[in-house]
């Protein structure tokens, strides 16, 4: 299903959590789609089942997946997800990027226009859905 990077110092369960989030956010995994069982994924990735279990618990806690007794785990719909950590992290990234652009001589007016453009095209895309 996906590859993990063992050389990356990041704990493996975090990598699994991040990968699943990415798949859910980008729509590779559709809402209410069944995700592999702990055992299956453990065997597929050759990763300790306890690590997978931990990742699934974290995903459930953050609201990205829900489990149904006897049936397994499923992805949640996007509107049910709120992850404050991630929100903070993304805000910080935006902040860093804006600072860098300003440092490189980007004019604040230009910046505003640029951001407005992104937002309006996103809104347009939403209406077409």
């Amino acid at each position: 299903m996906f590859q993990l990077d063992l050389k990356n110092g990041k704990p493996i369960y975090e990598q699994i959590v991040d990968k699943f989030k990415e798949f859910i956010i980008t729509g590779v995994l559709k809402p209410d789609e069944k995700i592999p069982s702990v055992r299956d994924l453990a065997k597929q990735l050759t990763i300790n089942p306890n690590t997978i279990q931990k990742a699934y618990r974290e995903l459930e806690y953050q609201g990205y997946v829900y489990s149904v007794q006897g049936l397994g785990s499923f992805t949640s719909s996007p509107d049910k997800i709120l992850d404050t950590n991630k929100v903070d992290h993304l805000k910080e990234q935006i902040n860093n990027n804006i600072c860098e652009l300003l440092y490189m001589g980007f004019e604040p007016d230009e910046m505003e226009k640029y951001i407005k453009n992104i937002l309006s095209s996103w809104k347009g895309g939403r209406q077409n859905d």
Binding site: L6, P11, Y13, A42, K43, T46, N48, N50
Partner: protein, 299 residues
Amino acid sequence: MIEVKNLYKSFNGYPVLTDLNLTVQKGSIYGLVGANGAGKTTLIKHIVGVFKQDKGDILIKGCPIFENTLMKSNVGYISDDLFFFSMYSLKNMSRFYKKVYFSWNQERYQFMLNLFRLDENKRISKFSKGMQKQAALILTMSCMPEVLVLDEPIDGLDPLVRKKVWKMIIEDVSEREISVLISSHNLKELEGICDSIGILNGGRMVIERELDELKSDISKIQVAYKTEFPEELFEKLDVLHHEKRGSVDLFIVKGNRNAIIEMLKNLNPLVLDVLPLTLEEIFIYELGGDGHEIEGILF
């Protein structure tokens, strides 16, 4: 599943293992690491009931293991130095194992034989070292033990075979919830497979933790301030290692990562990078003492 409590062992009056505790839960894969001569193999030989402890308890599923035939039939052990009867082929060995272990699983044996592509009619003594190790793995895992103790199981195996070995172990852990204890120097591979880690040094357990916990507790930090590094921070941080690289300070710090980041951020650093450590780095910093001995080996 495996419990070692206050184990003490000496050879000829010279203590080898002192006040040693270890716990492996059901369905867990435990990585035992340590420098050469730290006592890993001695500890393992106690766990499988080969050595008798001077003091302390060694329990498998709550029962003492020493001279306990019933419990021993539940424990699969692959030692560092393998033993096969001379002139025996893998087929002969499997017949012997079948008689000794009630839980012998012929299907599993056939499956693994095909997986590793060994010739069961060839004499084992004619096998290469790596193939002998595979033969031992096949025999041991076909006994379907509930506890698997592996002393450096993957050393000398090629990457493809190692992958197969891990796959088989993962399968047994997820399907049958067996407990596995592995000693190895291949920390990179242990990192992917173990959920708990015990670091042994000089006959003592230095650290025994869940791997993720261990990794979130220790971080590598690169930080630069406009002026000199604020001295007062040294007192607040549990610094394992400090190095100056030009205007950038490199730290290895113990403690809650977010709290440390907050603390460093408050003083407006120019650069602040926080990186998790690999198991290999943790091993080196924990056993390298105050850092003097390891200077120059590292990164």
